[in-house]
């Protein structure tokens, strides 16, 4: 009965007086294992915790995982067998372990190798006994070991032990050399605890002092004969000197504060059943005698561990105590496994307490390790058993109006009185009670968005006016399910509904409705749930699946985002924020688009956003279904509060709207209530946890400062590592001792100068690199905690290049190269100068030649123009001839046939007796005569055409090596005899002068023969009627060719004739004797056909010479 009463009393105390601190002071179990029996725990320089787990042995704990060290008989460097009794970590980060029966072990955590120190009876400098009970490193770095044989001092350099034994006689009985505990107080005096020989108090030999100045052990002696003067009990469990120099001693008899000068002890009675003060008359004697430890936390509060009775925390400022843990009662079996839910402590037997560097308080014992972070923020959640959809705090700060799914709740914050108002529940069963939104006008009326229309509500009289959709009235509100109400800068009311958004003119009560598409009466589906206005008076709204901007002038919407969005916030700088299922977005005005600020994949993930609100300090508060997130004013730091901070989970993405009171208080709605807090009063002094590189491996080999030349210091103190070019496979382990958010920890790393990006590796804490080329690098690692804080650590890595890539080799190569190039350049420039001089000389010579050539060219050009003229004339001629040929053929053929026909006609007439002397006969014979004349002249024309066609004739002849002398001779004779045969008056003579050395050249013999024949014929013709007519044909070898000349001593030609001589149809012969095509054709054959030249020299009355020059090839 008494116990039940105490339980009730305790419950009342927890609920009323210290409600807020109960929420703040909750333990979190970090290593939860009912079989664990953790008797001691120490944190090393890198932040790892080392545990003595009686059930398992030595364990290393990083906040998430515990690594156990086991004895391996085959490995001399593994942990010693036997139970670990004690543990310390020295200034060099070495672990010293005391064992029961296996001596002293030292562990180098950078290599995980153990070094053993054992007792050797033959060695006076060995450990005094293999059972080590206590280890201490004093302020000057000396290592003290308490064994079953006394106190040892270890010289770390030599590994030698110096023994200090208690030789003082115990006046109260036989002395015992065992040392169980060593404690150094602030004066540097060591307190050495042993076993008492007395039964009710600590005997003189069981508590000795070592004075480092005198180096003597003396018993802490007091006059035991005086009653009640001494330390009660037989065994000292704990000694602790607190921050106020109070000296606490815990014995098996209880907790005592001792005056070290007088030895006077005052007993304290921490009572789990009545924890309001540190000391009072105990309710149970068990409790008093079961005290395990006393220690202080970072807030200077005193913790008293009471074994199975949990813990008491005594706050010296408020002078109140608070109990933590299970009220374990051995007698009451039914309550034995009941865990304490109020404080979260799951440790069934609290053996030791520890305050770590980061300010956390740890309790260990049976059941694992629990952690208390009482500096953390806890949000006070006000449970109203209804969804807080909308919140509004009256300006006086006393009355809170809450829109819920069950009606409008009026809550008096002073009296905590609540009153629920329900409007129009009959109109719609499911949504009739819903109050989605509250907005206040200047007159103090509340405009409520409800499931059944818009309500204007007077909070004083509690009377209301309902505005509903009226299909007949286009000036009515567009929808009846009103999700949000909002006043713009013009004091116009905006109401968001399931059918769009409506603006109400408060003076006229008329609504202007806007919806996507602006189709009257067809607003279905455009559900708007939030409205905001930016400084430029743009209206922003979130609707089902999208974020829109409304242009009021045009009534048009512009869609910006595709997400299930429930919230918009325009911050003090005018930036528009939007939150939705996928994350938080911020508007980039210059780009006119929303950019993802954070989502599930971000360092601090933000998703399933319920609402966004800005506080008076310009922090942004984002509430999500699982967290409350604060983004600082510069939007650079994100802090996330989760269920550890009292945040409730909400499964669905409802629209909960937040509210900021005039006093700066924030109200955030949630599924069963709301949070209220003042952002400026949240305690939030988080110290960034240290981040360290914990090990370095080259290939598979773990490198430490002792086994290699790489490191002179432990890796976590090393700033630079130098490696050879072939030592390019390495890895780092790193660790951030962030025990507040150890499961949310995220690491990323970069090897600068090698990687371009940071590698996000989540909770992994190792980085490996393969085949890194020589160069200078910086390895950087970053740890990001859940509150967005990040710590960075870096180490320089220099991989030296092989000798052929070293700087000196390169410089040498460059110098050699430069010298070689220099000498080459010198030699070259000398040659160039020489060359230059010669060139200049050449240029002068060539210039003279060029001048000459230019003159020649000019004359050749004139000739070329002439020859080109001639050539085109020849082509023209051929063209004309071709066209004339066909009609001419008809003339000839028809005239020929006509002659035949006419002859037949004459014959036919004759047979009929009509003779040629008759009229008909004469006519026929005239016709015959005419036809014959047509035929004759047609033939004449044909032969001209034939001659003309020779120009275009594609020669069938092939060039062959020809003896020009023979050719000329042959054609000369042919012409001569031909002319003689034709003309008996022909009396010219001829002469030849052939060069006997004339080479054979490639010509078309027929063509060239024709040319010669033509020239020779002309020559003979020209000599007609002159005295001693003579034609001379000459050949001569010339440079690169042959020259053939045909000379006559005939009439010669005038300059005019000479200029036209090669033109087609030009002839000096009478009509009918020449076509004027002979020379023209000759010209073509020589120039076009053979690439030669034909020239004429002539003088009137003296004769003419044609000179043909033919090239050899």
């Amino acid at each position: 009965m008494k116990k039940i009463f105490l339980h009730i009393l305790l419950g009342l105390l927890l609920l009323s007086g210290i409600e807020l601190s109960a929420q703040d002071l909750r333990f979190k179990t970090v290593l939860d294992n009912p079989n664990s029996f953790i008797v001691d725990m120490k944190q090393d320089n890198l932040g790892f915790f080392w545990l003595i787990n009686t059930a398992r042995g030595l364990q290393k704990f990083d906040g998430v995982k515990a690594q156990t060290f086991l004895n391996d008989p085959s490995n001399a460097n593994s942990i010693a067998p036997g139970q670990v009794s004690s543990l310390i970590i020295d200034a060099d980060n070495n672990l010293w372990l005391g064992t029961y029966g296996s001596g002293l072990d030292r562990l180098d955590p950078s290599t995980n190798t153990f070094t053993h120190f054992r007792n050797n009876p033959k060695d006076a400098f060995s450990l005094s006994n293999d059972t080590v009970n206590a280890i201490l490193e004093d302020h000057s770095g000396n290592l003290w070991i308490g064994t079953n044989q006394g106190l040892d001092l270890l010289d770390k350099n030599t590994g030698r032990f110096t023994h200090f034994s208690n030789n003082n006689h115990d006046p109260e009985g036989s002395s015992n050399p065992q040392v169980f505990k060593i404690y150094e107080d602030r004066k540097g005096i060591l307190w050495i605890c042993g076993r008492s020989s007395a039964k009710d108090h600590i005997s003189p030999s069981a508590l000795n002092l070592f004075d480092p100045t005198t180096k003597k052990i003396t018993p802490y002696f007091w006059d035991s004969r005086k009653a009640n003067n001494g330390i009660p009990g037989t065994f000292i469990t704990d000694i602790y000197e607190d921050s106020k120099n109070k000296f606490w001693i815990v014995t098996d008899a209880g907790l005592y504060a001792m005056d070290r000068n007088t030895g006077k002890c005052t007993q304290y009675y921490p009572d789990p059943f009545n924890s309001s003060t540190l000391s009072r008359t105990p309710a149970s004697k068990d409790v008093v005698s079961d005290i395990m430890f006393v220690t202080e936390d970072s807030s200077r509060a005193l913790w008293v561990g009471m074994g199975q009775y949990g813990l008491n925390r005594y706050d010296p400022v408020t002078k109140t105590s608070m109990h933590f843990g299970l009220l374990y009662d051995f007698l009451d079996v039914s309550a034995s496994n009941k865990r304490d839910t109020a404080t979260g402590l799951n440790i069934t037997l609290a053996i030791k307490g520890l305050s770590s560097k980061d300010g956390l308080f740890w309790v260990m014992g049976i059941g694992g390790i629990a952690q208390l972070n009482y500096k953390k923020t806890t949000f006070l959640f006000n449970n109203i058993s209804k969804a807080a959809l909308a919140l509004y705090l009256e300006a006086n700060g006393k009355i809170l109006w809450i829109g819920t799914d069950k009606g409008l709740l009026r809550k008096d914050l002073a009296t905590q009185n609540e009153k629920l108002l329900i409007f129009n529940p009959k109109e719609n069963k499911t949504r009739g009670k819903y109050i989605h939104s509250i907005a206040a006008d200047e007159a103090g009326n509340l405009w409520l968005g409800t499931g059944t229309g818009l309500l204007k509500f007077d909070p004083v009289t509690e009377k209301y006016v309902q505005y509903k959709k009226d299909l007949k009235n286009p000036g009515s509100i567009s929808g009846n399910n009103v999700f949000y109400t909002f006043f713009d800068h013009n004091k116009n009311l905006w109401a968001a509904s399931d059918s769009g958004v409506s603006r109400m003119d408060l003076a006229t009560g008329r609504f202007t409705n806007y919806s996507v598409g602006q189709i009257a009466g067809n607003y279905k589906g455009f559900e708007v749930n939030r409205i905001a206005e930016d400084p430029e008076h743009n209206i922003w709204l979130t609707a089902n699946w999208g974020l829109y901007k409304l242009d009021i002038k045009t009534g048009k919407f512009r869609k910006y985002l595709d997400d299930d969005l429930r919230s918009i916030c325009v911050d003090a700088k005018g930036k528009v924020w939007a939150g939705g299922w996928q994350g938080l977005y911020a508007f980039n005005k210059t780009k006119d688009k929303f950019e993802l600020f954070a989502n599930e994949d971000s360092a601090v993930n933000i998703s399933a956003v319920l609402d966004i609100i800005e506080d008076d300090q310009k922090n942004l508060w984002v509430s999500t279904t699982t967290s409350i997130i604060r983004i600082n004013e510069n939007r650079t730091k994100i802090k996330k509060y989760t269920k550890d901070n009292g945040v409730q989970l909400t499964q669905s993405l409802w629209s909960f709207s937040s509210f900021k009171g005039t006093d700066g208080r924030l109200f955030l709605g949630n599924y069963f209530g709301y949070y209220s807090f003042r952002p400026d009063q949240l305690s939030d002094n988080h110290i960034s946890p240290p981040l360290n590189i914990t090990s370095f491996k080259l290939g598979d080999k773990l490198i430490n400062s002792e086994n290699s030349g790489f490191l002179s210091l432990p890796i976590w103190q090393t700033e630079e590592i130098k490696l050879r070019h072939d030592e390019n496979v390495f890895s780092f382990d790193f660790f951030s001792a962030d025990y507040i958010s150890s499961t949310d920890k995220k690491y990323s790393y970069i090897l600068e100068n090698y990687d371009n990006i940071w590698h996000n590796i989540g909770g992994e804490h190792q980085a490996s690199f393969f085949n890194i080329p020589p160069g200078n690098y910086i390895f950087k690692v970053k740890a990001i905690s859940s509150d967005g804080g990040s710590v960075e650590k870096s180490i320089r890595i220099i991989i030296s290049p092989p000798w052929w890539e070293t700087w000196w080799f390169r410089i040498l190569s460059v110098i050699t190269l430069v010298m070689v190039i220099y000498s080459l350049i010198r030699e070259r420039s000398r040659k160039l100068k020489e060359e230059n001089r010669r060139l200049e000389q050449n240029v002068t010579e060539r210039t003279v030649q060029l001048k000459k050539s230019l003159e020649e060219l000019k004359s050749t050009q004139a000739q070329l123009i002439q020859s080109e003229k001639l050539a085109s004339l020849g082509e023209l001629t051929a063209g004309i001839a071709h066209e004339i040929q066909n009609p001419l053929n008809f003339v000839n053929n028809f005239s020929e046939v006509s002659v035949e026909l006419a002859n037949e006609l004459q014959e036919a007439l004759r047979q009929r007796g009509i003779e040629s002397n008759t009229e008909e006969g004469e006519l026929v014979s005239d016709l015959i005569q005419n036809q014959e004349k047509i035929y004759y002249h047609g033939k004449r024309a044909s032969s001209i055409v034939k001659g003309m066609l020779e120009h275009s004739r594609t020669s069938t002849g092939e060039k062959e090596l020809t003896d020009i002398n023979a050719l000329a001779d042959e054609y000369l004779r042919l012409a001569y005899h031909g002319l003689r045969a034709k003309d008996n008056t022909f009396n010219s003579d001829f002469k030849t002068d052939f060069d006997p050395n004339l080479p054979k050249i490639a010509v078309i013999p027929q063509d060239m023969g024709r040319v010669l024949l033509n020239l020779i014929n002309n020559a003979f013709y020209a000599t007609k009627g002159v005295k001693n007519p003579l034609v001379e044909v000459k050949t001569k070898r010339a440079e690169n060719g042959v020259v053939i000349s045909v000379k006559d001593n005939g009439s010669g030609m005038s300059e005019v004739t000479k200029a036209k001589i090669f033109q087609p149809f030009f002839t000096t012969k009478p009509t009918g004797e020449g076509t004027g095509l002979g020379l023209s054709l000759a010209y073509d054959i020589v120039t076009k056909g053979h690439g030669g030249t034909i020239e004429v020299e002539s003088e009137e009355s003296f004769g003419t010479t044609f000179i043909i020059k033919l090239p050899i090839s």
């Binding site: 066909n886 001419l888 053929n889 008809f890 000839n892 053929n893 028809f894 034939k946 004739r953 594609t954």
Partner: protein
Amino acid sequence: MKVLVVDDEVDIQDLFLQKFRKEIKNGEIEFSFATSGENALVYLHEHESEAILILSDINMPGMSGIELLREIVEKNTKPKPIVMMITAYGDDETRNKALSLGADDFLNKPLDFGDLKERLFKR
């Protein structure tokens, strides 16, 4: 003997008919005329398996005499028609080409009918 004269000049038809008046009357020779290579092919197709002597001009709009010759040779109809080409004076190149393609003979323009008659009746 069947002779197909291919020439785009229609007047050539009168010339042949007048020149070979007696032979035609006596049934020694029968002239057909085509004004293009294409028409000639149509004619040949219609008179397949008849022995025909073809007398073709070279330069015609559309299919040229050479192309016609190539077609005929490629078709390889039996009996093989005798093809005589009429080439312009001096156009040795075309003539050689025609012969290499399989022309049986060639005549120069202007046509020497006496010579033509002789050659025709030799065949």
